[in-house]
């Protein structure tokens, strides 16, 4: 799925050796993955046409060893801020997916002046009552994550062994469905923020999107039609188009620049 232009690298930060995948040029766009771990999607390729995309593997996820040290989401956010600094990056755009959406919010709260804009893909920071992460067989997981798994050439769900390794970490860090501490701080977070939900998200209710909008002073909510929880896999072009536009223009992205000339 991934473009060959993405290359692998490592940084030493906060006592962790942290892997990342990097592609493209321009203003840095740091991506923090969901609970399933890092995975390049077609959206990364599309975003890398406009930005220097750095997709991190957070400690304890993916190929990294088990992380029993990190005890809270703010801690993980602090680790990731240090990892970004180790790349020599000062100001950057930040994108968080699902679980990583909450990490991204904490990171933005801790390093507000460095985060140019924030993109939250189906963020899991605010969850409906009774929300449960995807589980079960690969087929069951796929049905929770994707709107149309039958349309995908390859279905990616976390390996059982990887899941067993990361589950305690995710359990520790994901926090309550409604995190009063975080939510009270969001009212002060003026970073331009784009919240995206797929209309068919079967993990986090798309209706949670409005809570970010209500809490955050500079927040925009976009529903991606016919996409599930994994928006950037289900509809990579639709996802990337609005993300690029938002990162380039922030709140002025509401003004259309689409040309409708049929013939000059």
């Amino acid at each position: 799925m991934s473009d060959a232009a993405f290359r692998e690298g490592y940084v030493e930060a906060d006592g962790f050796r942290i892997r990342y995948l990097e592609g493209g040029q321009g203003v840095p766009l740091v991506h923090l993955h969901g609970a399933g771990g890092p995975r390049l999607t077609p959206a990364h390729d599309l975003l890398a046409r406009h930005f220097r995309v750095v997709a991190f593997e957070m400690p304890g996820f993916g190929l990294s060893p088990e992380n029993s040290r990190t005890q809270s989401m703010p801690e993980l956010a602090s680790t990731m801020t240090q990892a970004v600094s180790k790349l020599g990056v000062d100001a950057f755009n930040l994108m968080g997916t699902s679980f990583g959406g909450k990490t991204a919010l904490w990171l933005a709260l801790q390093a507000t002046e460095r985060v140019l804009a924030l993109v939250l893909e189906a963020p899991a920071a605010i969850r409906q009552e009774g929300a449960e992460p995807p589980s079960g067989s690969p087929e069951e997981m796929a049905r929770r994550l994707y709107a149309h798994p039958e349309r995908l050439a390859t279905i990616h769900v976390p390996e059982p062994l990887t899941r067993a390794k990361t589950q305690p970490l995710v359990q520790r860090l994901r926090g309550p469905h409604r995190d009063a501490d975080l939510e009270s701080r969001l009212e002060e977070l003026a970073t331009p923020t784009l919240v995206l939900f797929g209309t068919l998200d079967a993990v986090i209710a798309p209706a949670m999107g409005r809570v970010y909008k209500e809490l955050m002073p500079n927040c925009h909510l976009v529903f991606v039609y016919d996409a599930g929880h994994a928006i950037s896999t289900d509809r990579p072009e639709a996802f990337s188009e609005v993300v690029v536009d938002f990162l380039e223009r922030h709140e002025a992205f509401v003004i259309s620049r689409t040309a409708t000339v049929i013939n000059p």
Binding site: H250, E251, I255, S256, T258, T260, N263
Partner: protein, 358 residues
Amino acid sequence: MKVSFFETARYRAPRGLPPEWPVPSGAYDPDAGAEAYRSMIERLEYVEELGFDWVSVSEHHYSPRILTPAPIVSAAFIAARLRKIRIALLGPIVPQSNPVRVAEELAMLDTLAQGRLVVGLLRGTTNEYLTYDLNPAEARERTDEGMELILRAWTEPQPFGWQGRHFQYRTVSIWPRPLQQPHPPTYALGVSRESCEFAARNHIGCGVSYAPFEVVGKATRYYREQCARQGWQPTPDQIVYRANMALAETDAEAEALLRSQPNQPPFAMREGVRDAFMRLDARNIAGEARPPIRSGALPTTFIGGPDTIVEQVRRCREEVGAGVLDLSLVPPGWGDAQLLMRSLELFGKKVLPRIRDI
């Protein structure tokens, strides 16, 4: 002088509303909305009884200020409930519409209303570009092309194709056609050079709004010059001026009434969006550049007791050339329905009879 009442469906918010446009839908109160539309008809029956010539409706979105986002619906509803008054749809926002659909709906409405329709076509206020994702760089030319297509769809007797810049159709042949032939009285609404030139080229009326007489007068003078270049002269009826009026028993009371009104811009957007629009949208008055978005409230150009107002209407006729006044007696989005009814009564009894001959 003819007079038109600008009906905005007075929505009385039961709670305070967020100041920004777009106003969150969640702040809408369905009962208050139902009451706004119910009392609208009551008010318009009185407007008709007072002898107003037209009632006008306009298209604005995402806000309680003017609660008629689909003016064709309000116009049809009003036309069905009132008997004599003309229904002025001022107007559909052309660049964000399907022009053929607009031509069909207006023809249907004119026929349903037994030929009582008046039409104004326009580009729309800058904020409305956000309503259906209109590119500011294209708004002007989409408006011109759409307006021309509407006129063509009304008048071309043979099925035709339209090979436009922004609109393309292989087959257009509308039914019904308007009852008023060749089409209802139609105005290009706006003070821009392009709008005035379009109106002159197509032998239709010109509609201007809100700014002081000397400012809108520049536009109507330009319009008349362009008509002369095209070899025709518009009648006074072909110039309509939409304005705010603060009318009371005495001049002093009218001044006090005006002072009590808030100085809020009509559709205030977030600063970042407003600043972007200031760069991206271009507006002019008869060719002279003006900022696309106002910082304060829309001006009120008629202020005073009945005698003063009559004099101002006379001046307006001379300086603007308007033969139709489209009036808000209390600014949209402000004041209570009682105040509006009192102003209407005063206008109908003490002003209207005295400006007929102007």
